[in-house]
Symmetry: C2
Subunit: 312 residues, 2 copies
Amino acid sequence: MRFHSPAIQYFHAVRRTGSIRAAARVLNVASSAVSRQILKLEQEVGSPLFERNARGLTLTTVGEMLARHVMNVLQDLDRFRSDVASLSGAWHGTVSIACIESLTESVLPDLIASHRGRARRVSFTTEVKGSSDVLEALSRGEADIGIAIALKHPPDLRQVALKRFRLGALVAREHPLARRKTVTLAQCLAFPVIHALPELSIYHLLQPLIAQLSETPEPAIQANSIDLMRELAARGVGVAFQTQLGINRLSRDAQLVFLPLDNAGSPVWSDLGIYVRAERTLPAYTESFLQELVRELGERERRENAAYPFTA
Amino acid sequence: MRFHSPAIQYFHAVRRTGSIRAAARVLNVASSAVSRQILKLEQEVGSPLFERNARGLTLTTVGEMLARHVMNVLQDLDRFRSDVASLSGAWHGTVSIACIESLTESVLPDLIASHRGRARRVSFTTEVKGSSDVLEALSRGEADIGIAIALKHPPDLRQVALKRFRLGALVAREHPLARRKTVTLAQCLAFPVIHALPELSIYHLLQPLIAQLSETPEPAIQANSIDLMRELAARGVGVAFQTQLGINRLSRDAQLVFLPLDNAGSPVWSDLGIYVRAERTLPAYTESFLQELVRELGERERRENAAYPFTA
DNA sequence: ACATGTTGATGCCGTTTCGGCAACGGCTAT
DNA sequence: ATAGCCGTTGCCGAAACGGCATCAACATGT
């Protein structure tokens, strides 16, 4: 089922690999063939698509425009293929997800497992990245669904849903704060704190608030792994911060205590966005999973905000 | 700039013309070439795309799926082309509009004229149809922008905006009703009425209400042309019904009087929708006109509802 | 019933396009 | 300087494409 001009596919491969010869290797064709197709494309468009650097190729402005078109074409071709396949009852394909770390602990594995239980022929590819990298991967067509902290998203992405979760402090059961119902940031800062590094979005959520308090905090630990921070907190090393999403209630509830965070009398929210390339119609199996994802995250949002209501 | 496989273009032409030989004529190629490309496509998809009738070809289910994909590809190619062109300062292209008759009297000509004043290189194609035909033409990719009475629209269309206009009675200056500020349907039915035929959407708006009143109306005239109905009303033949959109205030206000219609104490609304194919990104010049259209219709909605406020 | 016109499909053949191989010049890093 | 990678180009065989003439199937008009 390859009814698109080879030029399209070659261009796509060159864009991804950043090199004609590398693209040729991926495509199992001679590099000369790829080179010629690119030259032909440039001639037809009437403008160079790549800048030839010594080390490879970089897209020009026109090249980026074509890349957008080619991505639309190839992604829609995927959808068409899946539509035809689902017509004959075969529901199979691969859902590609890019998301931030908070999801890996329970949300995503639960969802994927349950979805695979129902649709065994649907496979998954998941890649954990920072929030901005998630959006970038989505823009580049390297993922179908993206889950990230809701920043300003580029116009070529569509925010399917926006769920807000309450940020909280994570302490060990024996920690002095563990008996409280809620904590303030100031209370936490009186103890050793496990800070997120700037690569994590929690850093950008909390840093402004911490700066406001302008207290000299206890000597703290910094980390860039949600998982590591959680484990450190469980061992009583200090106070970590995250949403409850990252905590598996089954196993770790015994060791860890989650305390919703208050700051200046109001909760600290972490907004989670679900994103999709805007200029695209998803294959049926992807759309189906996406809806389950939105529903599940909505459910968790509801449950957690019910468990820790904000009393004004 | 033809970097898509000929099969795509041939398929598209065959779908539109409904015949291989007709498509070949349009494409300036031999019919055998078209026939072969279609056969090749069917072999690659693994399923027939057309049903061969004696009189031509009809799409199968799979064919319709491919048609959707091909339409997405070709429309996005258009957008890419216009993006590249606008990069070198040249803003040109054709905006294709399908709309119902009410717009032709002043809204559309005003807008097009003013737009052409600013962007001389943008041309327009407009086709007047019934509401459901407008949506159908849009679905088939025969128009870029559709304006129609807001019915239930198919999922492959996106409702860009929804504006409601008050339905009113149109009578000549000398008509006994002409001095009133508003009229009720019952009052109108006491006089000769110019009815819309079922092909016009006004029919479907008013018929249920008229049926409720269940009075035997005066012998009436029926017509399927908004324009004709308006002219008849101007000549005192009877009462016509339409939104004020269809009345050019400059020339005809002298002859015609517009009386907002009340029924059972509430206004009768005519909902106008602006539609676009959902799976599509519009070229810049089309998007620009679309936004002007939405703004202008919103402006008219505001003005008219201010001129004839509903007093509950 | 017959002739006529139209439909899509097919065999044949010249032309165009495509892809593989080898070689070239430009560049970088060692 | 050497080695390694890069993209491009000339040459040539293979594959794809398009045009022409022809065929069978069907609809239409007489």
